[in-house]
Symmetry: none
Subunit: 317 residues, 2 copies
DNA sequence: CTATCGACGCAGGAATCGACGCAACTCGTA
DNA sequence: TACGAGTTGCGTCGATTCCTGCGTCGATAG
């Protein structure tokens, strides 16, 4: 009665993989229904489903499918945590990896590969968990540089090449946003927000700015984040209203990188100490004097922290 | 009106199916008269008829009979007629409250006014705290309806009138996003994500969808959120890849509410059980048949939960 | 006598099966 | 740096299995 045997299609839908993949997993790794007569339909029991769930989770963590299958074949359930003793990157020499419908992440490591796999499956839970794990372990900057950016770039390349994968891109972006939003905030004890984060006019990409925001939060620094598509007038208005010490303006493509919106900041009545032109959109030599262009997230963070330390209360308060 | 018990033939004629089919539905899916002594004639009450009506409608829309029966066994109404008890558009006329540089929030209460004030100050900390407080105290739905929506609408009106306040709008949006993202998630114990949330093509407003997502998370329901600007092709692709039971498509303005993107969902090979056209963009009478249009957040949430309960394995069958 | 009952069977179609192949990514090697 | 070998997810194809609506039959309720 309770043991409603699930069909292959139902299981595939539940896991987020194709039906054919289930068949492949069965015949390649022996990961199928406990008993199955060849030629007949596969009927997955709850135990079988649990095994597959383990498989899904392990691959999402970047474990080679072959290896994950070996684990899943004996692991009891999805809740049975992986024996962490074996989790460290024990990559047996000579094990080829990769292939299939995948996002290229190059040598970005198993974590990136797992994230890419979860993304292809549109598995937001696994995506969120992977990012949260990385954030907790390595911090915002490292997670961004070594996990998130490679995967996002990979999706972008593939998207540009095949004109598909838009859903994947959106889903991952959202999960990244959510993960950044939950980066533990230090209390307000760190003083007022003296740094303003904003996208350039018409600029829609906020993720890098959110990474910066999360990194600042992680470092215990308060900030104001305006978000996407901020017109120059609105930015100036915000600066005049809040008088920040530093302003970061992100531009992703040259189309949104009008230097005028930086110039007007420098001439505003409450001129910020530091103006950062962040992002690949800015054209180095057309920037007005007095604007700093950080090359990566780490530099932006350290510049921001330097500004805080240079004018706030240094240590005690 | 009278609870005349209909005979099998009468019901069959009314539904347009054969009498034997009614018998089959009874013994195969348990979809028959509420009480029936074996050997005696079947007597269908009005409620039984309604159940069968649902069954007929769903199967006529291409849904697997087994799944349709599961849904019909608990859904009372033939059409998705949810008790649309109230939609009180109480518009307080001429309540002048706080002039000058303020956001009109109407009668939304002191909490909304406080939030509006913090927003005008670009004080993200205070904004975040206010939202978090409301979420913890009243839950997602109430916070959205009585706090966030009034304030956002107020900002929008003012923005439309004065062409300013863009920074305020962005900042508040971001804070709301962050707050929703930190709504406590129940673990994955609640099963796979069977509901897909997506914006319509070219639609940029995600906040209402995020509210829905947070409400679902609060209710312990898993979901997949695709985010803004999802082209119809990408949405169909995602549906085919993950086979959700329900899809919510949000459209804020009529410009993004092309009914074709709903139609294509209904004709997709892996047609979802329920398609929700959410948001004020959709034009009621141009929606394809089989699409349900929730009037507010609460209705969308309850519909989503109904779908989950209709196909999860609750207890016994 | 008529409509319905339970049981059984059948035909059409949807879902799945097994086999095969393809494309795409990684990694070792030249 | 380029290339070939290994891995892997998934699409496709013809055959098979399973689901589902309904007709039929002898018996029975109304």
């Amino acid at each position: 009665m309770a043991d409603e045997a699930l069909s292959a299609g139902a299981v595939a839908r539940r896991l987020g993989v194709a039906v054919t993949t289930l068949r492949t997993w069965h015949q390649r790794y022996g990961l199928g229904p406990s008993q199955h007569v060849p030629g007949h339909h596969r009927r997955y029991t709850a135990a079988d489903l649990a095994r597959l769930e383990t498989m899904r989770r392990l691959t999402a963590e970047g474990i080679t499918p072959a290896e994950a299958a070996r684990w899943a074949r004996q692991a009891p359930g999805p809740t049975g945590e992986v024996p962490t003793n074996a989790l460290p990157e024990v990559r047996p020499v000579g094990v080829r990896d990769g292939g299939g419908q995948a996002i290229p992440v190059g040598r970005a490591g198993p974590a990136a590969r797992g994230l890419a796999r979860a993304a292809m499956r549109l598995d937001s839970v696994a995506i969120g968990e992977a990012i949260a794990r990385a954030l907790a372990a390595d911090g915002v900057v490292a997670t961004w540089d070594r996990l998130l950016r490679p995967v996002l770039v990979g999706i972008g390349e593939r998207h540009a090449a095949t004109a598909g994968l838009i859903e994947v891109e959106h889903l991952v972006s959202r999960c990244v946003s959510e993960a950044f939003a939950t980066v533990p905030r230090i209390g307000t004890a760190t003083g007022p927000a003296r740094i303003l984060l904003s996208c350039a006019d018409e600029e829609q990409h906020t993720l890098p700015l959110e990474a910066l925001a999360a990194a600042l939060a992680e470092a215990g620094m308060a900030y104001r984040m305006l978000g996407a598509r901020v017109p120059a007038a609105a930015l100036v208005e915000a600066v005049n209203r809040t008088g920040p010490a530093a302003v970061v303006v992100w531009s992703h493509t040259r189309a949104t990188a009008d230097p005028a919106q930086l110039t007007v900041l420098l001439t505003s009545p409450r001129r910020p100490l530091l103006v950062l032109a962040a992002g690949p959109g800015w054209w180095a030599d057309s920037l007005p004097a007095g604007v700093v262009r950080p090359v990566d997230l780490a530099e932006a963070v350290s510049l921001a922290l330097a500004v805080r330390d240079s004018l706030g209360r240094p240590t005690g308060d």
